[in-house]
Subunit: 483 residues, 2 copies
């Protein structure tokens, strides 16, 4: 039944004359997979030294020099402040409040005597309060280049406060905290929380500090959601709002990407329904989740430029013979693969898995349409006169072409922000918080009657991470808007 024709010179060699060499080695040897063995090896390291979870074996500095990477340093627990609030915190989705809570925070600059120069800086999903270095903790912060004298958030002028969000694991109350009722880690007995809950907790800290009104509420990514939520909850306590690469209504495609991350994490047997604090953390699931997340943080065009189709350099021991093509591996082989692998590896022991699950869920749930907000028993703490703004589209800005059907609903929901000057900034290469969503935030605000919306769109190839990297353009827009 075999058909033996001359098809190509190499096939013909194997047919005409000799029987080709059928090496037993092809079948007899069991292959091994370093990328899979890495999971077991990591687990052994954790078993041998449980405190490894506080000191991962890889760090960002080991990343290749091929492109810019934002710093990700865990804060030093001894150097952030903790605000302990022993009164309950009402929650958006739970009938029961949190009985008490902590908020970890750091500050930069000097609080003015009238306490009117405060900027509340909101973080993205996995960041800590350590936005910039401090005298107590000189480690580089996640927005190091944006905070300081003469920088985007100018410490000569402003007093900047950055909190670890409620639900986080860097000092604020979250699933890894001890439940005062059981004296055990909350685990997944922690209630589902919302952006609004995070902001409520932060304003309890502001109350404690005697800060009645913010000069500005500033945030990027999930921080932008909080920034908008702060303006919505406390319209009279927020002077300006900055929303960078955020959204006022999480899109189903962003939900999909975060769902994929939660799925791989929760499928890790170590996750153990969220009760892993006395055992081994779900480090494999965390690595896999971070790999997926990293895909959404950057952009294809950046990878084209940065990695293209280049392969990892082979160690000498693996080099092929000069006359044979390099044999491809099923484990990471292209540089883009080793990049994702590295990003996952360096993150997987740094952050709490349950915090990732709860906070990413809070992002999914964020929706400022009026129909969504009105189902939540939430309302802005403001005089009702603020809410009478005309919902017809502002005269100074024509209505957008092809608006999504929910835009009027979103504009209605965002009415409490109608009198707050707002900067909306987006990035065209962002695949997680698309530029369409940035336009949507600006359009909804304008449609809600806000005549003080500044809108910028940036090019470039850094995707969602642009807010962490582009000091010149992102920083410049912030500085201009705040001055």
């Amino acid at each position: 039944m075999s058909s033996l024709r001359l098809i190509s010179p190499r096939i013909s060699r194997s047919i005409c004359g000799q029987t080709p060499r059928l090496s037993r080695s092809l079948s007899a040897k069991r292959p091994h997979f370093p990328c899979v063995e890495a999971h077991a090896a990591r687990e052994s390291r954790i078993r041998a030294a449980p405190r490894l979870s506080a000191s991962p074996s890889t760090n960002p500095e080991q990343l290749s020099d091929s492109g810019p990477e934002p710093p990700y340093a865990r804060p030093n627990p001894k150097t952030y402040h903790i605000y302990r609030d022993s009164a309950p915190l009402h929650l958006t989705y739970s009938p029961d409040p949190l009985p008490s809570f902590d908020v970890a925070y750091e500050t930069w600059g000097t609080l003015s005597p009238s306490k009117d120069n405060v900027i509340l800086l909101h973080t993205g999903l996995s960041a800590s309060s350590h936005a910039a270095s401090t005298p107590a903790n000189p480690a580089e912060g996640w927005w190091e280049k944006f905070i300081g004298p003469g920088k985007a958030l100018d410490t000569n002028q402003f007093y900047i406060i950055c909190c670890n969000v409620l639900g986080g694991c860097y000092g604020s109350t979250g699933p890894s905290s001890t439940d005062p009722l059981t004296e055990k880690h909350y685990g997944t007995n922690f209630p589902v929380i919302s952006m609004f809950d995070m902001v409520q907790a932060q304003f309890r800290l502001l109350d404690h500090l005697g800060v009645n009104k913010l000069y500005a509420s500033v945030g990027s990514s999930m921080g932008a959601m909080q920034s908008l939520a702060a303006g919505w909850l406390f319209p009279e306590r927020v002077g300006k709002v900055i929303s960078i690469s955020g959204t006022a209504r999480s899109s189903p495609s962003a939900v999909a990407m975060r769902f994929a991350q939660r799925s791989v994490l929760m499928a890790d047997p170590n996750w153990n329904n969220g009760f892993y604090y006395d055992g081994l953390p779900p480090h494999t699931g965390m690595k896999l989740a971070r790999q997926i997340a990293t895909i959404t943080y950057r952009s294809g065009p950046e990878w084209d430029l940065r990695f293209g189709r280049r392969l990892r350099p082979l160690p000498e021991s693996e080099e092929p013979s000069p006359d044979a093509p390099r044999s491809p591996a099923l484990c990471p082989d292209f540089l883009i693969e080793t990049y994702l692998d590295h990003q996952g590896e360096q993150f997987c022991l740094k952050y709490d898995a349950n915090s990732l699950i709860y906070i990413s869920k809070a992002m999914d749930l964020f929706d400022m349409t009026n129909s969504a907000l009105s189902s939540l028993n939430l309302r802005p703490s403001t005089s009702s006169s603020l809410l009478t703004t005309n919902t017809s589209h502002s005269k100074s800005h024509p209505p957008p072409a092809n608006p999504p059907a929910y835009l009027p609903d979103l504009a209605e929901g965002m009415k409490p922000l109608a009198n707050i000057p707002t900067l909306v900034l987006g990035v065209q290469s962002d695949i997680l918080f698309t530029v369409e969503q940035q336009r949507e935030v600006a359009d909804a605000l304008r449609m809600a009657g806000n005549d003080n919306v500044s809108y910028y769109e940036l090019g470039g190839v850094w995707g969602h991470d642009t807010f962490l990297l582009d000091v010149l353009n992102v920083g410049g827009a912030i500085r201009g808007f705040l001055s």
Copy 2:
């Protein structure tokens, strides 16, 4: 230290007067996660009935009616043909050939006496030879609406052959096949294969059938890669080429998405380095991988329209009280989540995990730039005169604006296709094989001197899956080009 101010009406209720109800139920009850339990439940079902792997508990018909879904039916092993070739098959990346191989195939229409009406239809990653129903197997095929009398691939005129690819698990030789040298499943002793190897195997079948020249080589997605590879390997045996939503050079972002899938699959302990055929398959990893894949197959705009932010309907037992907002779940809750969950669940026992790994790797490796091809010891089986085509850009088509730096290299590599009329069709909402890549294929072909390139770009929201769904536009373009 606590700061108790009036922040919102609901917060104030919990502060002024009564101590809020601190239900023990919040903390004492261990939560459960149906989406995680599903993995163990599935494993129990497989243990109880190992043949479940041939009959998954869910099927595509159970999918919600909210939008179009392509059929995915596994073929009936009794109704496809198998071509058994007992001669070795040279491989692109392995020093050792495959000692022998099978190719499963099905046909539609009638072979003309001169055997000049043959269309070779190439499949995407996970498809079988069952592209359309046959008298022997009336189950709907994956391209059912595109094949038949008067359809895009018109069986009144053409004889259509569709093969399960080398590396697959639906009758053709792949990692789940028995290695004749060891009489055990290959597992990951199966060699890494290339698109070119798949095409070589198919042309051995054509030799066997006495088909010297194809009327056309047709494929979408990975099938488009094969379609181009067929024209490259056998320029004198391919009359026309159709490439739909494919690429001539896999992009790093597509590699990233496939890497994420392979990573979650290979991390499943059941995968067992690829040697799971005598045990339990890595069904959890397969489900997670398919969830990720599904994100790349459709588009955000489709999900906006189809699911928006709607939640799954709650069964009566879970309905909240009228005065409380619905409590969000960490398991799938938004319809987009249940959709992805369902897609993963219905696929995870249908397809072989190792086939997914090997074939997705072959996609990553596909690169028709001259520099990549010339490292592979591959060459087209053609008279050298064909290769003298001028590589300057065709006069009838001006060079593209902002071409990628590798475009001349790609044009040089694609020179063997310079004389084959080619249809390139792409979809603007495709995030896996972007429209830029479609333009790149057309540009490279024209730059290689091909004056017979038809290029179409489709709108719509179905993303990469458009080729499976849009009979009117995709089918129309094919029919027009073939006639």
